[in-house]
Symmetry: C2
Subunit: 148 residues, 2 copies
């Protein structure tokens, strides 16, 4: 796991070498994405960026997120109910634990995932390039006061 500052520099350099322009909006969006560990919605990213750039539009957020996604710098997480979230904090694939009550999303990291990956490649002949592993359930907090 590399530091945030280094990661930020890397992304900027990649943008530059890919011929993309470095705009203040993009810098702001990248900053928010790599520092927000809460798996924010696009709307939430938008609101955070707007504190820097009040004139920023939602469309720009969408475009930049799509660009970074193409570059492999972030993942999209789709909740069960149709809504989407962005995970730019850790670009490497990893499972998510999604609390169906409070909608909290926790990054999980267990070795067994690699075993599944290997087993699937060998059994089905797929060349796996990515995965989305979402586990739905109740987080420890919600297991207690979940009388509803």
């Amino acid at each position: 796991m590399i530091g945030q500052t280094e990661r930020y520099e890397n992304i900027i350099n990649k943008l530059r070498s890919d011929g993309f322009r470095i705009t203040p909006q993009r810098l702001s969006i990248i900053k928010v994405l790599i520092s927000d560990t809460s798996h924010p919605s696009i709307e939430r990213v938008y609101n955070q960026v707007k504190t820097d750039f009040p004139t920023t539009s939602l469309a720009t957020i969408y475009k930049t997120v799509a660009m970074l996604k193409d570059m492999g710098e972030l993942m999209e997480i789709s909740l069960g109910d149709g809504s989407n979230r962005v995970d730019g904090y850790t670009p490497d694939p990893h499972p998510h634990l999604i609390c169906t009550r409070c909608k909290k999303i926790v990054d999980a990291d267990v070795d067994e995932v690699n075993a599944v990956n290997t087993a699937l490649s060998q059994t089905y002949g797929f060349k796996i390039t990515g995965h989305r592993l979402d586990f739905f359930g109740l987080c420890p907090e919600c297991q207690n006061h979940s009388k509803n």
Copy 2:
């Protein structure tokens, strides 16, 4: 794994005991869903049902699919690109292998998934009630003629 006929009966009985009415449209939709192994889109289900009931509306398909989803009889699979598919063939959670080139979806079944499940519960304290495991990559066929 139970037979299709038995599964069909089970769903009908469950509908009845839950106070839902048995309509020819519902029967037709259920038949299509539990027999179609291709992980069809809603649109595809719609077209198949229309051969039985030409007057069927998309809205009815959506409503029935939502009902069956609530009953736990089917899953929704979200492809990377925003489009959704329905998996009503096997109601038990299982990983999907999604080919990003030809959009084929393969049901996978590997023991290692249970190990991941257990590890997550123990490590993070979540009470896991469901999961959606999508692996993206290239199927064996597309690995060959994928020069594009």
